[in-house]
Amino acid sequence: MAAEDAVLFQDMVQPGATWSHVLKRGSALRITDMAGGANVGAVFYNWDNLIERYNMPDTLKAQHIARLTSGCVLYSDMGRILCSITADTVGWHDPLSGCAPAALVATKYGVARYQEHRNDYYKNAYDGLVIELAKYGLSVRDMAAPVNFFSKVEVDDDGGMRFISNHSKVDAYVELRAEMHVLTILNTCQHPLDPNPKYEPRPVHVSIRQTTPPGPDDPCRLSQPENGRGFILTERYFL
């Protein structure tokens, strides 16, 4: 965990909003659930080569996991680590479920347009993420399979998926250490499997801190042999 006194930047991401930043190698992004029950859809790209991006299958199979927590890393399609999860007070973040497009949001919550509702109009995560992608020259084809931070979806023996309500509590946080320069795009719309019938996205707080590079005893590096090799490949990239 990065030191409290090293905060370089902090901000609130409003409910249903999209936020992006090129997180620099050696800094850490902390995302904090301000109200409880937050969901943060997130995609990650190598800023130096945007066709290298977060890869959900490679992340899961390299670490033999179907959920993300501290000690896990986020792999790109090139065998390198974009971010490491260095701290987590939630315990389970969902990598499986994707994000809700406009049609799903309209089906679940109805339609609320800017015309009638001004800035309280209903947003959806898919549009939020692809609009932000476009600002960096990327298109819908570049949309990666997003992580849903703060949300938990269990899978039973027959493959059935179940969303766990009230999973994240007030002030819960997750911290990501950037292992390369990472275009990070976050969206605070509700999880697509959230059974809450009301449109009630929650805000999160983001803060960026300087952090120390992962040493030989780094918990993410040592969590399993695969991650040790992932760090080697990432460090080679900067030679």
Binding site: I51, R53, Y54, N55, M56, P57, D58, L60, K61, A62, A66, Y75, D77, M78, G79, R80, L96, S97, G98, P101, A103, L104, S139, V140, R141, D142, M143, A144, A145, P146, V155, D156, D158, G159, G160, M161, P192, L193, E226, N227, R229, G230, I232, L233
Partner: protein
Amino acid sequence: MQGKNLVESALDPAKAVYDQIVPAGEPWIHEIRQGQYFRIVDMAGNQAADTLFFNAHDYEERYSAQDTIRAQGNIYLTTGTQLISSQGNVLLTIVADTCGRHDTLGGACAMESNMVRYGLEKRYMHACRQSFVKAALSWGRGLEKRGSGGGALRLPGDPQEHRRRWRHRHARVSRSMGTR
């Protein structure tokens, strides 16, 4: 909940309009027209057929593993599964399945991820993502790695890929005219 849904097809492969054997480790790319049926047969057992689908009229729209499993509330694919695109449309529907369970979370192996998973010296081992890129390059028409979404559909689905990684075998693909 979704168990294995074993359903045999009534279509006669002898009447297929197209029939081809795909050798182990080779890419195969083809356009399937609306209304046609597409069958993949495991010829020797324990085969995986990593598969990607794109809207033939707009390659920006492609198969989405996340949207597919979320739409049916189940991570396994079997008869009845609708393969959902990145734009929320149904690309294909599985109408017959004699395997019963297919994986869509494992993606495809790559030289780079094999280095992470098995050892840095495994870089030169054959990998399916090489085949995908080769197929996309041969197809041209704007298909490229960045549009794949990183996902792949794997038929059939054994999540323990490492057990069979040296056992690439061949599969047969056929395409039949629909009756719709």
